[in-house]
Amino acid sequence: MKYALFLGCTVPARARNYELSTRRVAQALGIEFTDIMDFSCCGFPVKSVDVKTTMLLAARNLSLAEEKNLNICTICSACTSILTEVNKELKENGELKEKVNEKLAKIKREYGGDIEVKHFARILYEDIGIEQIKSSVKKSLEGIKFAPHYGCHYLKPSEIYGNFDDPEDPTSLDELIRATGAEVIDYGDKKLCCGGAILGVDEDISLTMAKKKLDRISTRGADAISLICPFCSIMYDDNQRKIESQFETSYNLPVLHYPQVLGLALGFEPKELGLQMNRVKATEIINKLQKGKTES
């Protein structure tokens, strides 16, 4: 199974732990990544300003993977939605594709429309499969409780994703977490947006949105949040201390990228998964796991 790994902007700069754990887990499960250095921003941040620029940025990125005859694996949910959306629009609308290619010709690129884009979590869920993951587990995470955070763009707009999961009642991440032996904690406002997209527009609203979810989860006895988008992680992990001091509260709730969770179950050491880079330290989880190891 081969994919071009699309990192986007946030991952290589601010979520290298996510990148590292994704690469480890992929390798362990037989997913081969090709890195394309010329990939740029997916185009998502520009969509509010000019949809045409976004479309060209996305089409150019897609054309680079097409050249190598590879499907794209994304790990940021915003990148997933923009690349999927533009790919779908251009595949379905020949006239639009022609217009886009006229512009792309100026930078000597051409979009063809013969590859697919998939989020890494969806690849694990659909292509590797829950049963295969279960049978690859070397160290069960039994006894550890995770609150899944799906984020928005992994599932929505659902019309671009062919309804592979229900945006109103998603289960794919729950199943992926359970496949490691860990327990899934249900909580109110499970689908609530992290607020990341408006952090630069209105920090108060954005942080209040993140706080709301941290409040909900912390009352449910979760050991950690598990998520699949680097910007959601910025909101809950990087900004957790800020939220704590601004709202005079305390959570100390670790936030793990799902590949870090799966990586632990596959037997990788915490450091191999970049866990020392998570802002809120997952010490208790690691201790629980090591205790389990010495007992067994």
Partner: protein, 176 residues
């Protein structure tokens, strides 16, 4: 800006009856006229739940009435968190998240842009990505066993010249 956009009084002189047609001609804006103001969008909106000044139903209603200048000059349209909750639930198939994007795109053309987006456009146009990456970052990546990433992307930068968006954004910025 905020005061102006939420003022209750509407004068006929400020209404542009063509506004809704302009929106519906743009990709994503097609179904705006089907809105029957049920409020499902506002009821599920996570931003509105925290701050009532953001009200998607109100923005759509204002757009349908043709209160063009107030809608486009308002700070409120920039508050959509693009979570797509309203978009998924709208019983009339109004793609509300996309409508907000259409409105923001139109606002930029009228010279209104939120400064955080000006910054994002400038960064991506300059570096090809939102965060500048240099050799120091690549050294850090190398130490972790991660491959290097490009520190520049001239083709992506060129796209901003092709669409003319960089020029447009700096023009809006000078208006601020």
């Amino acid at each position: 800006m905020l005061g102006k956009s939420t003022e209750a009084h509407i004068s006929f002189g400020e209404l542009d009856p063509q506004f809704k047609y302009e929106i519906s001609k743009l990709p994503g804006g097609e179904n705006i006229k089907y809105c029957f103001a049920c409020g499902t969008c506002s009821a599920g909106c996570p931003v509105r739940e925290i701050d009532e000044k953001y009200n998607p139903r109100r923005i759509i209603r204002m757009a349908l009435l043709g209160i063009k200048d107030r809608v486009l000059s308002s700070d409120l349209i920039w508050l959509c968190s693009t979570c797509y909750t309203c978009h998924e639930r709208c019983p009339q198939g109004v793609k509300i998240t996309e409508v907000m994007n259409v409105l923001k795109n139109m606002a930029v053309r009228e010279g209104y842009i939120h400064p955080s987006f000006t910054r994002q456009v400038e960064l991506i146009a300059a570096h090809g990505r939102l965060y500048e990456m240099d050799e120091f970052d690549n050294k850090k990546r190398e130490r972790m066993g991660l491959p290097p990433v490009a520190t520049k992307c001239p083709e992506a930068s060129e796209i901003f010249n092709i669409t003319g968006i960089l020029k447009l954004v700096s023009k809006s910025k000078s208006k601020e």
